[in-house]
């Protein structure tokens, strides 16, 4: 990679696989359960977190030398809250229906452990460029899992992808439905999101034994 040094590139690639915020660090689970019933919501959520975490990491990194460490959590909260309000207002202005689907979960990005975790663990101790890469990488790792879960839940739960029917029409009985297939209602319930995330964790740790924790 010409653009990035090897060390910098690792900041992006690590969270995508072997140090994934959801499947390895098990952070940000709540939103992964709540909004992944539809692929579109998963994608929008991923982009929102990408924006908040990328920009937030840079802002915190720039301020890292002037933030008194006793009040750093409050400063971090103000930064993330500001960014989340921007995202919320943009969604309300340009994608009103979607912002209603996501409801409180846009606001709850503020409490997403991944964001505070990266501020604390990385942005407070690194320069803005590296912090930016770290933010993008972690948000992408979060987004990838969200999109995988959203893909399977929408496909198997509603028979659609991004709202477009792909398996036929369940009422007119076309496509797969003509041979007796039916949507799996369990997929739309939150427990199934947890199970899908669990299966991803299982597959990942089976492929890479180094990730299995010792007891």
């Amino acid at each position: 990679m010409g653009l990035l040094s090897k060390k910098d590139a690792k900041l992006i690639t690590d969270p995508l696989a072997d140090n994934n915020p959801i499947t390895i660090q098990v952070l940000g689970i709540c939103s992964a359960l709540a909004i992944t019933a539809e692929l579109e919501a998963s994608i929008v959520m991923s982009i929102s977190v990408l924006f908040v975490l990328g920009v937030g990491n840079v802002v915190i990194s720039l301020m890292r030398n002037i933030i008194p460490s006793k009040i750093r959590i409050i400063v971090q909260l103000i930064v993330v809250a500001t960014l989340v309000i921007i995202v919320d207002l943009v969604l309300k202005a340009f994608a009103y229906e979607l912002s209603k689907t996501l409801s409180v979960f846009v606001g709850l990005i503020i409490t997403n452990c991944i964001i505070m975790g990266r501020f604390e663990a990385f942005a407070l101790g690194n320069g803005p460029w590296r912090s930016f890469l770290d933010g993008i990488g972690n948000a992408a790792g979060y987004g990838v899992i969200l999109i995988i879960v959203g893909f399977f839940r929408e496909l198997l739960g509603s028979g659609t992808l991004l709202g477009i029917p792909v398996l036929g029409d369940p009422i007119e009985k076309t496509g797969l439905y003509s041979i007796g297939y039916e949507n799996n209602g369990f997929m739309l319930l939150s427990p199934m999101a947890l199970i899908v995330v669990g299966i991803i964790i299982w597959v990942q740790r089976t492929r890479n034994k180094a990730l299995v924790e010792d007891h």
């Binding site: 007796g180 039916e182 799996n184 209602g185 369990f186 997929m187 199970i195 669990g198 299982w202």
Partner: protein, 399 residues
């Protein structure tokens, strides 16, 4: 060359290879294992896991056969051409509808067990033998086979194999399978159509414009949840001439199966008895609420709340769940005191869910799954309580 020697040769041939567990399992299933262990001290007992499993299956076979007769009987009764209960016509319908359920349940479940045994390099365990027989008994007769296959795959993998296979699971696998079906395909697991063979088909024909009479085969629970009295006599409920899941209707045969399990010391009488008591206590409480006039007839809970307290034992899947599923030795409490608490709460919560959640009239499934989760906690406190008591005794003695 006979089957036994063929199997033995196959087993020897594949010894040490990846496929060895699969051949060992077939050999062990059909014949007595010819290996003995050579070192250490041994206790010789006849009831290995295979015999335990087979005993439970034997206790369930009457329910299965009764279920086949009942499936046909309910079918013809609903379609207005009643036949004798013990007739070939009735049995034939049941046979062609229920045998595929049994085959799919065992086929898919055992295939997954074999697959995991080969991948994880351990012997195939006998645990699925009972689960595979339970599953067809607790689903409606018209359950589509592919749905059953998906549910069995889910239940065996997520309910059992991820925890480490037979003996390690937290939840009862058969109930995990049923719960999956229930939440994934609710239209096939509840309502007034699925319990009688042919009713769904007829409803579809009517929707397509055919001029036929609608067939309704509601379960007693489903009826009561809507405040309707379906008018079955107590004898019908007890002998099992009522619509319901395949094997759950005949309280008499379940009772006999339960006595058989208690007599052979396979099933825990403590769990069965305490669950019974739990259900009766809850039933009495609800009857008391009705008698005291705290609830009016217009309430949506009135139908099930005013059900005579001991009728709860005869309707729905309560008896079947209590006898065959609550007593699963893996997922139940292990301590004797724990078994009393575990069983009592299963009965108590079953009736509670049944009455207060008309959308889930089959409370026993959810009650057992819930108590499966709490069983280790109950055991923990029972053991700790015992430790504490003995510590106190020790202190008194030494002081």
């Amino acid at each position: 060359m006979g089957l036994k020697s063929t199997l033995h040769n196959l087993k020897e041939k594949y010894k040490g290879t990846k496929m060895a567990p699969a051949f060992n399992a077939i050999h062990t299933f059909l014949y007595l294992p010819n290996e003995t262990t050579h070192n250490g001290t041994h206790i010789k007992v006849a009831d290995d896991l295979k015999r335990t499993m087979n005993t439970v299956i034997m206790a369930m076979v009457p329910c299965l056969i009764f279920g086949m007769f009942n499936a046909g009987y309910q079918h013809y009764a609903a379609f207005g051409t009643p036949v004798e209960f013990l007739s070939w016509d009735a049995f034939y319908i049941g046979l062609i509808k229920i045998l595929p359920l049994v085959i799919v349940s065992y086929g898919v479940g055992l295939a997954i067990e074999f697959l995991f045994a080969v991948i994880k390099k351990h012997e195939v365990e006998e645990g699925y033998l009972v689960t595979g027989m339970l599953v067809p008994l607790i689903v409606p007769v018209d359950t589509p086979l592919w749905m059953l296959a998906v549910a069995v795959a889910f239940g065996v993998v997520i309910g059992k194999e991820v925890f480490g296979g037979t003996g390690m699971n937290i939840l009862n696998p058969a109930l995990t399978i049923r719960a999956f079906l229930f939440f994934a395909y609710p239209t096939w697991m509840s309502g007034d159509k699925v319990w009688v063979h042919g009713a769904v088909e007829r409803a579809n024909e009517i929707a397509a414009g055919a001029e036929l009479d609608a067939i309704s085969g509601e379960t007693i629970l489903g009826g009561l949840a809507q405040g309707k009295d379906l008018g079955y006599s107590v004898a019908d409920m007890f002998y099992g001439f009522i619509p319901g899941s395949v094997g759950e209707t005949s309280t008499l045969l379940i009772l006999l199966g339960g006595l058989f399990l208690i007599f052979t010391k396979i099933g825990s009488w403590r769990i069965m008895l305490s669950s019974l008591m739990g259900a009766l206590v809850m039933g009495l409480i609800f009857n008391g609420v009705v008698d005291a006039g705290w609830i009016t007839e217009s309430s949506k809970f009135y139908g099930l709340m005013s059900t005579i307290w001991w009728h709860h034992l005869l309707i729905g899947g309560f008896a079947f769940g209590t006898v065959f599923m609550a007593t699963d030795p893996v997922t139940a409490s292990q301590t004797n005191k724990g078994k009393w608490i575990y069983g009592f709460l299963i009965g108590f919560i079953s009736i509670l869910i049944r009455v207060f959640n008309p959308a889930y009239p089959e409370g026993v499934m959810l009650a057992i799954l819930l108590m499966n989760v709490f069983a280790p906690t109950i055991d923990h406190y029972v053991v700790q309580g015992n430790v504490k008591r003995r510590m106190k005794r020790l202190k008194v003695k030494t002081a």
